[in-house]
């Protein structure tokens, strides 16, 4: 019985991690229809922005929840200025440029810091569920993800910038006609997306450790989740995460991790065949 409880926790946790690694990409993609192939590296940098200050003696939580998102957010704004802005509306070029950026970041980080795995131990210890030990950090990840998702929703739904951004997302020409500075909106949104990616990487760092190459494991899944999610930034990402997280984790429990991974991919393939615009694309226009 308590094993069942543990399974449920692990499934929810898997869903949370998927949503966490995807949300930043989702906002950028949903906003400007741009696939940021350096997304994985944003997470990776977020991880380092947590581990390095912590090694330097700064409080883990402060590095994780403040330093990482801020630095990566600013970095995102710079990237938007230097690269993405020059390529608006050119999806393919943006993909190539951001792929180049991802290689560049991997190269630089490994050159400066080295390819070593920065080992870390999740804080908060563990709790007993029946006869099972479960890392308390698992619950923290679930909680943090829920807060982030809700927070993003509130931001776009109720804050002035959020509303403008949402309008721009749905119809940038109209927004421009109404005197919205589309470029500024894009810059801020890209920065926000980057910040969230950094935060995600930071939160996951104690679980997965950090290394220059870790981005690859993130980007593939995030890409699949975001696109499968369809036109709704938050609704889509959330629903896709729930679907894939549940499937892969349950299969993993029932069989092996590799079958779980394959199950996720197969699910994505079948889903997009049945709903060619992604989960939410069929029923909604672009939005949250």
């Amino acid at each position: 019985m308590d094993f069942f409880a543990v399974v449920v926790i692990q499934v929810v946790y898997a869903i949370a991690t998927l949503a966490l690694i995807s949300i930043g990409l989702a906002i950028i993609y949903g906003m400007m229809r741009v696939i940021n192939f350096a997304h994985g590296e944003f997470l990776m940098l977020g991880g380092y922005a947590t581990v390095i200050p912590t090694h330097a003696g700064i409080n883990l939580w402060f590095s994780m929840l403040v330093i990482a998102p801020v630095t990566i957010g600013l970095f995102g704004v710079v990237v938007e200025r230097l690269i993405v802005r020059r390529l608006y509306g050119r999806v393919i070029e943006t993909m190539l440029a951001t792929w180049g950026l991802s290689l560049l970041i991997i190269g630089l980080v490994s050159w400066i810091i080295g390819y070593y795995q920065e080992g870390a131990a999740p804080p908060l210890g563990s709790i007993l569920i029946g006869s099972y030990h479960v890392s308390t950090y698992t619950f923290f990840v679930i909680l943090a993800t829920s807060v982030i998702v809700v927070g993003v929703y509130v931001f776009f739904k109720f804050t002035p910038h959020g509303l403008i951004a949402q309008g721009t997302m749905q119809n940038d020409r109209m927004a421009a006609a109404l005197g919205v500075n589309v470029h500024k909106v894009y810059a801020v949104t890209f920065g926000l997306g980057a910040a969230l990616s950094g935060l995600a990487g930071a939160i996951l760092a104690p679980m997965f450790g950090v290394m220059p190459i870790i981005g690859i494991t993130y980007i593939t899944k995030a890409f699949i989740v975001v696109v499968s999610g369809g036109s709704l930034v938050i609704g889509g990402t959330a629903s896709a995460s729930v679907l894939f997280g549940t499937i892969s984790q349950i299969v993993t429990f029932a069989t092996t991790p590799i079958v779980g991974e394959v199950a996720l991919l197969v699910a994505a393939v079948l889903l997009l065949r049945l709903l060619p615009q992604g989960i939410t694309g069929r029923f909604f226009r672009r939005g949250l």
């Binding site: 094993f3 399974v7 080992g119 870390a120 890392s135 870790i214 429990f253 991790p257």
Partner: protein, 415 residues
């Protein structure tokens, strides 16, 4: 289309030029090398296998320095030609051909992943270029042109498992990388376990990019084994240890590992995570012998005090190169046949790990194995030393003296 001709030729010239440049680089190095003995290596010096490649390259450089400092080989200096495979098998193939056909090196030491080894081994076999593979691997390679100086699962597990079984109990949970090394090690584990009256209660295999171990940790708790033995490979898997200790399991079920430490984890992982993990290697930086002290001193003088953890990945390169040098001295020539004969004469050296000698029959190494446990202070504490551990060779499938023409990698069913 009217521009095709020009365009094509332009592009052709472009490509040609680059190819020429590509070939130029080491050329320059060659020109002033005069009558030096050229030996080659291909290492993963960039991309995701870099940490291993870097350490291996350092050890080779050190060995070359020592040989040259002591007057070189056959009175000639030795020059090491290095290529960076960028952790990419296709480049392994390209550089292997270059080493064999252009640089015409006397021997090649290198390669990390088994896939890379299996890409270049045939090339060196075909081009009669002597090849040393100085890395712990899944075992079974039987090729007269190839010498494997790393540990094989049998050598390792036949010492590690009995210790664990005696100390902790007879039920084993196996966690392994989902590829050849892991799968073969798992088979060895089952075999050796049964020989020691223990049994494997469950085995799980993980793709190299899996970093999520929640379900596994729960499954292990459900199975309640006496201990865990893992064959994790690569950084993603390393996150298991953190998640394991975070789940508060560290003091519940002990872990033995076939790979922990080879990526320098012992220095990077928080001690509260690493402490207590049991390993068994041919070499550990902590070995307290004169020869090792000298070795470490030389590393420090060459690379500064923060050269990281060496481990047997690096030292195997060092020992492999010394073995070859010894054979060349004995043969008195660089001629491949003569050197192979010398190598098959039961040649041996004293390396950082102690006595290392080549087994003529399998072209693998007979050396010491050290059993150690990760301590509190980012160091291994050596528990036992097993001397002259022979390479396992089930039912003598591989006999390069009787059957020199053999050129295969024997697969698990041979077990």
């Amino acid at each position: 289309m009217s521009l095709d001709v020009t365009r094509r030729s332009v592009l052709r010239i472009g490509t040609g030029a680059i190819a020429a440049v590509a070939s130029l680089g080491p050329r320059l190095g060659l020109a002033e090398s005069g009558d030096k003995i050229r030996i080659g290596t291909i290492q993963d010096l960039s991309s995701f296998l870099q940490p291993f490649g870097t350490q291996k390259k350092r050890c080779l450089d050190l060995a070359v320095d020592e040989i040259n400092a002591s007057g070189g080989l056959l009175g000639r200096q030795v020059e090491l030609i290095t290529y960076d495979s960028q952790s990419n098998d296709q480049l392994y193939a390209q550089f292997a051909t270059q080493l064999a056909l252009r640089d015409k090196v006397a021997v090649v030491h290198g390669g990390l992943q088994s896939s890379a080894r299996e890409v270049i081994r045939p090339i060196f076999h075909r081009t009669n270029t002597l090849f040393f593979y100085n890395t712990p691997y899944e075992g079974g390679v039987c090729d007269r042109n190839c010498f494997c100086t790393g540990t094989t699962p049998g050598q390792l597990l036949e010492n590690l498992l009995p210790y664990m079984i005696k100390k902790y109990g007879k039920t084993i949970y196996v966690l392994a990388a989902d590829y050849n090394f892991g799968q073969l090690s798992e088979k060895w584990t089952r075999k050796i376990a049964s020989e020691n009256g223990a049994k494997v209660v469950a085995s799980e295999f993980f793709p190299l990019d899996v970093a999520q171990f929640g379900p596994t940790i729960s499954k292990i708790q459900a199975a309640k084994p006496a201990f865990i033995i893992n064959t994790f490979v690569g950084p993603a898997h390393a996150s298991f240890y953190g998640q394991w200790s975070a789940a508060g399991m560290k003091n519940e079920i002990p872990i033995a590992s076939q790979t922990f430490g080879e990526g320098g984890e012992i220095l990077r992982m928080p001690p509260e995570v690493a402490e207590g993990i049991t390993v068994c290697y041919n070499y550990l930086d902590e070995i307290d012998t004169a020869s090792n002290k000298v070795f470490l001193q030389r590393m420090r003088t060459k690379f500064g005090s923060d050269f990281g953890y060496i481990g047997d990945l690096g030292v195997n390169e060092y020992q492999g190169l010394l073995l070859w040098a010894e054979a060349v001295k004995k043969a008195g020539t660089l001629d491949r046949e003569a050197v192979i004969k010398a190598l098959e004469s039961g040649i041996s050296i004293v390396g950082p790990s102690g006595d290392v000698s080549l087994d003529p029959v399998t072209h693998h190494c007979i050396f010491n194995m050290y059993l150690a446990v990760a301590g509190k202070d980012r160091k291994f504490i050596i528990q036992e030393k097993f001397e002259k551990v022979r390479p396992t060779n089930p039912n003598g499938v591989c006999d390069l003296i009787k059957r020199p023409e053999t050129n295969v990698q024997f697969q698990p069913e041979a077990l």
